[in-house]
């Protein structure tokens, strides 16, 4: 039960005033600008855009500043802003095969057209704190090698040529949209992928790890992981043609899993898919493992009761804005609810005590 509680306005005002001061921190230290966050906290910005489900680096940087670096709070701010926007339409599905890759690696094939391109990665760093970053200094320019920008083929196409990998089915009917209709179960793959793409990275990481440790084991290989720029094309209804309206950075992960075959399918490899806004590699990788685990039904595999296979469990709990909203509301005043609980416990104790006295007397 919720009952409006009056009072506390002055305390709330003072709390928010203090919040603003604490957000600013020591005034002798220069204030962070939104542009600095956008340019130098890029992976935090990307994570907020991915889970906020809105590509706008300036707004994500602003949200991070406003939230004092609390990324879930920042995601919440971005989602709230998004709800105020009119929707102009949906894009033509992006062509990730035409991606201009900053990074593209495969763990399954060493030699492949376009090669293994590491990009600006943390991989192979020693994970030692770099004290040089505490001092101000110029960064030497990155090395370059002459190259023409151009697309590189998807790695799984190599397996596809031999028919060794399951083909992706074309979708039918309208594309479901979680932001317009509530989640309905069972969900088709398009709805699952949308939910996972905006899901919490930590939650997906934990689930993906659980499949690796044996809870719904699918033994994934990373067929390909790529990050780069894709063009977003939009049909302009009043003109009757599509324009390449924007560019976004995406991370795409395709995992390849062994599959013994079923009554209708010969033994082949199956795939898990991750696609996320921004440079969000851990998330894309986790998403592809969880996507694969959720496909047990269509692939005729057994449901072994693993959390990552349980569509209702995964899809109902992967959204961190929903989760934190429900979790955090319990810290807000529940005085009246609690008062009634208190009354109840007191009465039960009184009755128990009276019962004991009666028994002793008999």
């Amino acid at each position: 039960m919720y009952v409006a509680v009056k009072g506390g306005e002055a305390a709330i005002d003072a709390a928010h005033g203090w919040l603003a001061e604490e957000r600013r921190g020591d005034a002798r230290v220069p204030e962070l600008t939104v542009a600095q966050i956008r340019e130098q906290m890029t992976l935090a910005v990307d994570r907020v855009m991915a889970e906020g489900s809105l590509w706008d680096p300036d707004l994500a940087a602003l949200a991070i500043k406003q939230a004092r670096g609390d990324l879930i709070e920042a995601v919440f701010l971005l989602r709230a802003y998004r709800t105020t926007l009119p929707r102009f339409g949906a894009s033509v599905p992006v062509d990730t095969g035409a991606m201009l890759c900053d990074r593209r690696v495969s763990a399954t094939f060493k030699d492949l057209p376009g090669g293994q391109v590491l990009g600006p990665t943390f991989d192979y760093t020693h994970r030692l704190l770099d004290f040089a970053l505490m001092a101000e200094g110029e960064v030497p320019p990155a090395r370059e090698r002459t190259a023409e920008p151009g697309p590189v083929p998807h790695v799984v196409a190599v397996l596809d040529r031999e028919g060794l990998i399951q083909r992706e089915a074309e979708g039918e009917g309208p594309v479901p949209d979680l932001t317009r209709e509530p989640l309905e179960l069972p969900a088709d793959r398009a709805l699952r992928l949308q939910a996972l793409a905006r899901g919490d990275e930590g939650f997906l990481l934990g689930l993906a790890y659980s499949t690796q440790r044996g809870y719904g084991r699918t033994h994934a290989f990373v067929g390909e992981l790529r990050t780069g720029t894709v063009t977003v094309e939009v049909e302009v209804p009043e003109l009757g043609f599509a324009i390449a309206l924007g560019e976004v950075v995406l991370t795409e992960c395709e995992t390849v899993n062994q599959f013994a075959g079923s009554r209708t399918e010969p033994p082949q490899f199956t795939r898990g898919y991750g696609l996320t806004l921004g440079r969000t590699e851990r998330k894309a990788l986790a998403m592809s493992l969880v996507d694969r685990a959720l496909r047990w039904r269509e692939l005729g595999e057994d449901f072994v009761g693993a959390p990552a296979q349980d569509e209702e469990f995964v899809l109902s709990h992967c959204d961190n804005v929903q989760a934190t909203g429900f979790l955090e509301h319990i810290k807000l005043p529940h005085y009246v609810d609690f008062q009634s609980e208190l009354e109840l416990v007191r009465r039960l104790r009184r009755e128990a005590a009276e019962g004991a006295t009666r028994e002793a007397a008999e």
């Binding site: 926007l85 339409g89 370059e144 023409e148 594309v175 806004l277």
Partner: protein
């Protein structure tokens, strides 16, 4: 669209897309340098909204909703009656106006001048930026060397 993600700017979708993706400040600078702003009336004042980005399962399968991006659109009419549509990525209404002006002017006798002063620089700069990233990526391409093993000697 060719492989580099670029649409030829000879056609209307090409020039509209080029303006849409250009850095807003640069677009406005180039349009401002064209001279006095032509007289126009808004048919639809710039409006900020979103576009839902779609992907495909496995890159090739069923379409799904990946997430949205911000965009701004507007439409104007020059005093000669030519209508220009401005669509830009992001939330910049002034850039939307500049894009709509370019679209309108490209349908008038000013097309050659606008092409040379606005579209060609934007296209060159976009290509230079793509080349720079491609060059940095290429420098991180792994070259494998086959090690000579003991038993082969």
């Amino acid at each position: 669209m060719d492989g580099s993600g670029q649409m030829a700017v000879a056609e209307r979708p090409g020039w509209m897309g080029l303006c849409a993706r250009a850095p807003g400040a640069r677009l406005m600078e180039l349009v401002g340098a064209l001279g006095p702003r032509p007289a126009f009336a808004w048919l639809r004042v710039p409006e900020i909204g979103s576009v839902m980005i779609r992907g495909r399962a496995g890159g090739t399968g069923a379409a799904f909703h990946l997430g949205e991006m911000t965009a701004t659109r507007g439409a104007l009419r020059l005093s000669c009656g030519t209508v220009g549509h401005g669509w830009v990525q992001g939330r910049d209404k002034a850039a939307c106006e500049a894009a709509a002006l370019v679209d309108a002017l490209m349908q008038t006798g000013a097309a050659a001048r606008v092409r040379a002063a606005v579209l060609e620089p934007l296209e060159r700069e976009a290509l230079a930026q793509r080349r720079a990233r491609a060059a940095k990526a290429a420098a991180t391409r792994v070259e494998f060397f086959t090690l000579v093993r003991g038993e082969d000697q």
